[in-house]
Amino acid sequence: MIYMSINRTLQPELIAPEKINITKAKKVILDNGFGIYVINSGTDAVVKFEIIFPTGAVDRNSYALAAACHQLAETGTSTKEAIEIAENLDFYGAYLQSEAGPDFKGFSLFSLSRFFNETLPLLNEILEDASFPENELTIWKMRSIQSLNVNSEKVSWLSKTAFNEAIYGSTHPYGYTPDENSFSSITTDALKSFFKTGYNKHEAIIIVSGRVDDNVIKTINTVFGSTPFSKYGVNKNLLPSIQEFVPGKLKIEKKDAVQSAIRIGKKMFGKDHPDYLPMSVVNTILGGYFGSRLMSNIREEKGYTYGIGSGMHPFRNSGSFFISTEVGTDVCDATITEVHKELMRLITEPISVEELVLVKNYLLGSFLRSLDGPFSLADRFKGLILHSLNYEFLENYLHLLHTITPENILEISEKHLHPQTMTEVVAG
């Protein structure tokens, strides 16, 4: 065979991806009039059934309670013990995941399609009839307290919890971290009453993804569509108002730590803010991908850390921005100086066209990755609906990726990224 001589110094020509098709969720109305969202996609015979309740831990007292409720719901019903429920799920190779936060909480059932008819009724039984046995609560408390105490030994955890508290205050569920007492004071009565008021099916958002064929829909109809759901609206937001954010500095001592965890950031905004999308591009430039400025400077040039990044954490009513890393204690101050330099660079120097094109292309690829496969599509949709957004948000994002300019980047950075507006937490 004769090889054409190739020039290895030149990158093959790049082609922008063609029009991006987003497989959208379709609304399917069950027999009782209740609407669910369906993403029928993918090549594997699997189903993910996610049920989300749009109220979470609305105050400090309910924070640990929501977590407990959530993890203990599968540990018993009036007719089944924990091991029977677990054995049934395991037998069909299915698994349940749960999530409980301040804005919402939910359960996801992952099942092989061919066993969905057996696994979904189990989830329903839990939702209808969870009994919260005393013994299970006792074990849960012991385990949760142990894991809290293990986490408290990690500098990354110490800096993260202190940061959230500094931003949102210790009484707001966005900023609160449960302590030992909040776990140990939970009673089964409190669990039962929380479960009754916080998990009404008629308020739920149901998203089903994977191979959602007629049999799957039929099963859902039998389990969730046969009895009428009352028509309540989505619960009003019950969260307390958020305190005024004041930047500050915090140092948490941890004896003998060989690394310090640094977290620098501020209160920002949620997905509904007009600056959210352009800020997410700025965040990528700063610390949102491997080639970001923070990674290039602090890891790849200085070798101070194994990793550094920045991120945005959107809540329904607010959001935060943060830069986080773990570095050798000897280079902690030097790292903070470099972080400030990078923030000032964004504010004062326009980004080069080359760097902006690189970030746009990278984000376009990431966007495609975030839509790959049925479960990714479902997550993407969930990220919209829980923030009261629709697919237009994604189209706006794509449009922004094509049109955002160095001036826009400068303007957004100037508006939101001044180092003196940020809180700095160091643990170690």
Binding site: Y3, I6, R8, T9, Q11, P12, L14, I15, P17, I20, G42, T43, D44, V46, E74, I83, A86, L89, D90, F91, G93, Y95, F110, L112, E136, M142, R143, Q146, S147, N149, V150, S152, E153, K154, V155, D256, A257, Q259, F290, G291, R299, E300, E301, K302, G303, Y304, Y306, E326, V327, G328, L358, N361, Y362, L364, G365, L368, R369, D372, G373, F375
Partner: protein, 412 residues
């Protein structure tokens, strides 16, 4: 069931393609058959350090990441005791950039001194972040040398000690590259929107010109049969006592591999598993417990690890654990429990192969084992395990003379 086609270049590079036109992306995976087990005892952690250096520029391309990101791609890599794996996903239109980048770094690296200086620091920070500055983070650094006296599995991929990384020289880097990074020691797999025809064309174009080099056969010392129980007790700044108990077991190639895997599932797969229900829930001795096998290429370990409830001594906890293990040896598991662990394994296979990057990795992994077709035998291999297989496997593994116990105690 994964569909694929396979071909091999004249220089020995094996290529496997799984076509799925429902995605706009392609995952590319390159596995090099070199890991921590190929290291010398005085230069440990090197395969992993080298993995970092693969991103420090190649002979014709000064920077790996930038052109990939420019093409909308994303990548990462990991090092295990047996192999080193590089993977990326990229929009199908720009797949050629991935071929350009990966073939150039297989051809030769830039061997930049700066890159070595920086990555030595980065890896030292990784050592600190993941192993030294985490509660229980160094448990495996203690357990491995106890279980393995001769075989290189006695050190973790990060290395025995920080000084081995600090002392690495550019000559070490060059000789490691020329020994292990060449077409016949690599497997290239693709999964996603790519036809075999196009894959063949691109592979010939970019990888075809790289010269063949024979694979060196490795002399890896065989771990002698363990004769008696080994035990180590350490006191550290952690909130709770923990136990790690390890037994020598079979290799990934062994006919008992699947039975051993299901055995560990009987013990700790899911919330209906035996150890969780007995030791955590009924007896309240452990706050968590898990059992797993390492499944390495050479005979390796089955491990049970768990944290103890305050006030429980490691002796009491271990005795209760041993009673549970004795049950699996004495009584064959019933049909229902056998069906459960088989079906769990099946669902694990199906969920595990949904993602294209995972599929590409699995194809490469089975080809490394000797034959990519094995990927589609896994389901049957699990279905063929009998309860007597599991019982016998338990009997042969769980003996006192075969175990190493690490009691990781909270400093009082």
């Amino acid at each position: 069931m994964v569909d694929f086609e396979k071909f091999e270049l004249a220089n020995g590079l094996k290529v496997i393609v799984n076509t799925d036109t429902s995605t706009p992306l392609v995952a590319m995976n390159i596995l090099y058959k070199v890991g921590a087990r190929n290291e010398r005892p005085d230069k440990t952690g090197f395969a992993h350090l080298f993995e970092h250096l693969m991103f420090g520029g190649s002979v014709n391309i000064p920077n790996y990441d930038e052109p990939l990101q420019m093409a909308g791609g994303e990548n990462n890599a990991f090092t295990s005791n047996d192999f080193t794996n590089y993977y990326l996903t990229i929009p199908a239109e720009n797949l050629e950039t991935a071929f350009w980048l990966e073939s150039d770094r297989m051809l030769s690296l830039a061997f930049s001194m700066d890159s070595l200086d920086v990555q030595r620091n980065v890896v030292v920070e990784e050592f600190r972040q993941r192993y030294l500055n985490q509660p229980y983070g160094d448990a495996w650094l203690l357990l491995r040398p106890m279980a393995f006296k001769v075989h290189p599995y006695q050190w973790a991929t990060i290395g025995k000690e920080v000084s081995h990384i600090e002392n690495a020289t550019i000559e070490d880097v060059k000789s490691f590259f020329s020994k292990h990074y060449h077409p016949a020691n690599a497997i290239l797999t693709l999964s996603g929107n790519i036809t075999t025809e196009r894959a063949r064309q691109l592979t010939e174009k970019w990888f075809g010109p790289i010269l063949f080099q024979p694979v060196e056969t490795l002399e890896i010392p065989v771990e002698p049969l363990q004769q008696s129980r080994r035990e180590l007790r350490v006191e550290k700044d952690v909130p709770y006592d923990a136990i790690y108990k390890a037994w020598h077991s079979c290799s990934r190639y062994d006919k008992n591999y699947h039975a051993t895997d299901l055995l560990t599932d009987v013990l700790s797969g899911g919330k209906s598993s035996r150890l969780y229900n007995s030791l955590v829930k009924d007896k309240k001795l452990f706050s968590n417990v898990s059992a797993y096998m390492l499944g390495d290429l050479d005979p390796s370990l089955v491990v049970v690890e768990g944290k103890l409830v305050s006030g429980i001594t490691p002796e009491i906890a271990e005795k209760a654990l041993d009673e549970e293990l004795k049950k699996v040896i004495d009584e064959p598991i019933n049909e229902r429990e056998l069906a459960k662990v088989r079906q769990k394994a099946e669902s694990g296979l199906i969920f595990g192969e949904m993602n294209h990057a995972n599929r590409a990795l699995n194809l490469a992994y089975f080809e490394m084992l000797g034959d990519v077709n094995l990927i589609n035998n896994e389901l049957d291999a699990y279905r063929n395990v009998t309860s007597e297989n599991i019982r016998q496997t338990a009997q042969s593994i769980f003996t006192e003379s075969n175990c190493s116990v690490l009691n990781y105690m909270a400093k009082k």
